[in-house]
Symmetry: C2
Amino acid sequence: MKITKFGGSSLANAKQIKKVFDIVKADPDRKAVVVSAPGKRFATDTKITDNLITLAEQVRDGKNTAKILTIIKERYMNIINDLDLGQIVKAKLETNLQKMVTDSYTSYDHLLNTFKASGEDNNAQLVAAYFQQNGLAAKYISPEKAGLYVSTQDGHTRVLPETYTNLEKLRQIQECIIFPGFFGVSKEKQRVTFSRGGSDITGAILARGLKADLYENFTDVDAIFAANPQIVAQPQKIDHLTYQEMRELSYAGFSVLHHEALRPAIMANIPIRVKNTNRPELPGTLISRTRTDNKYHITGIASSHGFMSISIKKYLMNEEVGFGAKALNIMAEHQLSVEHVPTGIDEISLILRADQFKDKEEEESVLQELKERLAADDISSEKELALLMIVGEGMISTVGTAAKAMTAMANTGVNLKMIDQGSSEISMLFGIAAADEQHAIKALYNTFFKV
Amino acid sequence: MKITKFGGSSLANAKQIKKVFDIVKADPDRKAVVVSAPGKRFATDTKITDNLITLAEQVRDGKNTAKILTIIKERYMNIINDLDLGQIVKAKLETNLQKMVTDSYTSYDHLLNTFKASGEDNNAQLVAAYFQQNGLAAKYISPEKAGLYVSTQDGHTRVLPETYTNLEKLRQIQECIIFPGFFGVSKEKQRVTFSRGGSDITGAILARGLKADLYENFTDVDAIFAANPQIVAQPQKIDHLTYQEMRELSYAGFSVLHHEALRPAIMANIPIRVKNTNRPELPGTLISRTRTDNKYHITGIASSHGFMSISIKKYLMNEEVGFGAKALNIMAEHQLSVEHVPTGIDEISLILRADQFKDKEEEESVLQELKERLAADDISSEKELALLMIVGEGMISTVGTAAKAMTAMANTGVNLKMIDQGSSEISMLFGIAAADEQHAIKALYNTFFKV
């Protein structure tokens, strides 16, 4: 049994929804379909989720919402018309939208979550109607009905454990389940969305709850590529990678699959297959616990920018028990998440995402506080850093991978500001100037994949 | 004006003390001589400091001390006889030793510190007597008299700032000052030793206090070598290195100069020259704030073993603000000093000296505590690690040093378990299996110095 999730571009218009129908119909094992909100139909198009956020903001600010509401309604109406879904579906959509904007909410957050969730929710109802009309027994199931419960901690939406017990009951449903992605419900019966791209998470939760054999994730690329195709022309497709490889690559910029979608799959050991809705005949990329060897030495190269480093110097620092703890505590007090901590003898660096500081003033005040409370000799910061990661199972036990990677970068004149290797056994992390990011990726790709 | 310190092997017997006399006499700028306790005369000899520690332990345990006391006395008596110093010096030594063993002490720590300090103290008095007898106006000055005040915090003896004001007055003394190294006095007038090898620290403190132009450190090697001569045959001598290079090298195993001796010299910007008592005509090694370029790409290669790593895995760790701080806090609560913290995406490693755990049980209990309090998915430890460091000013701005180093190690089959670079701009740290230490050092030496 398979859980099959379709992304926003796979459901952006009637033509795409017909492809989805053909895919689901072709394999009776596809027990549940997780549906995103309509995405972009062309490069400059706006996703319906973004329109819904705009609508929420306009409601909050007391602005005239007529125009944006029309845009949202038209998106659905075009699809409904093009799919010949008829009056009942139209009326249901109108009711849904009307209810959404006239309901009362306990907070703006509640309103925003509900508005965002409606993108997927309306689309799922519409897809279910189209499937039924075309002779495929399908049933729309909402997260409320299924009991997909979530809670929010520190701004993160997480699934509650009882969800899995609840979802298992869906196995008894005879029809193909059409399930809206992206959101669950709180114990207070409010809709709460996952982070953006969260339909991937819903799919994984369903796969775990329904004890699927495979979680299919349909998107608009043929496979996961070994490097960013916007940097490297026609990079190699990855046939097969492990959960852990995917996790590390998604940390450093691979966005094909939402990284939070991995955990439920890992917990239940359900393989994930990423496929292209527009070319379903292609094998795509398989993600599973283990894999057979691939012909390349490493699996992928990822990068991400927007990082900065804070360097703290203090003579005899390394003899001061708890110095690192003190530094990290100060950062935690300010809710600053530090991602890497390269250490020298009398120096420690804190690598973090720069956008955590709301302005220059806040940054300077934290630097000053670090200097004073740590009695540091010197403190400085450096901006515009990129983190670059090479990933591959068993990489560390292969002597020379590090040397090869660094030689490649040195030969292109890329100056390594940070090297962090030693915790993960399957990845190596380099800090470089953001300006060097593209060169470095190309150099690494040529070294490891053009062999 | 120069402060000149002589190590234990430079003062181990009458023959060596005569060399010291010749060296001091040859240069009237040598204003103060800092004296160690008599060291080893031959490879299997025992340093007098170790004999004094044995004596202290025997007193504490109520054992018969006659034999060890005789050994200590004989060491000095041999020197006194060989230098023809005569009865007054002998009587003074006997009085000193007698007073030491019969005095009462506030604690064993007080006793131990006083006993250890006597090694240098008696030697300084004896050296002063020899200098005077041979026509060099010399004066023994004790730390009490000079006002070399120290305090102890967390087991570390540190000089108090007023010391420098006190020491400046010694500039008015006409004679050559003979000063015992290794200890100062507390505000309670008790003698407190620095850590082992601490005469280097006394020398540096005097250099700063007396505002010397140069701090000469005489030992038994021709220079500081670019690599450990016990691993690399006849390594390159380093002509000139910076304070910071010395600091990093001494962290990772270069023991020629006590690393705590650097700070006073750095603060007062006093250059240090390491020389050989047995070959004073050689230039030795100069350590100063800046240096001219040397012909090699890096300055030195150091290594140190006895490290271990603790690896902690937790899914989505990197999204948990303060995770690293929590881990380091737990270590600090146990007074465990963590030296390096390589971080992955969902993993963090703690690199520390393994001997901080008193036994396997304590280690397991800390690991268990980390696992529970951090709600970690997995925790493991790895022993027998060595840290290897390559050091050189401006190394980081030279693209390719890292690549060169790693290629060298990869070619010899050395598996890199950890790479930490990014905080210090003049060094790069590698974690390897202790079993690979010698291979790795040789490979790096051949790459960077045999050019």
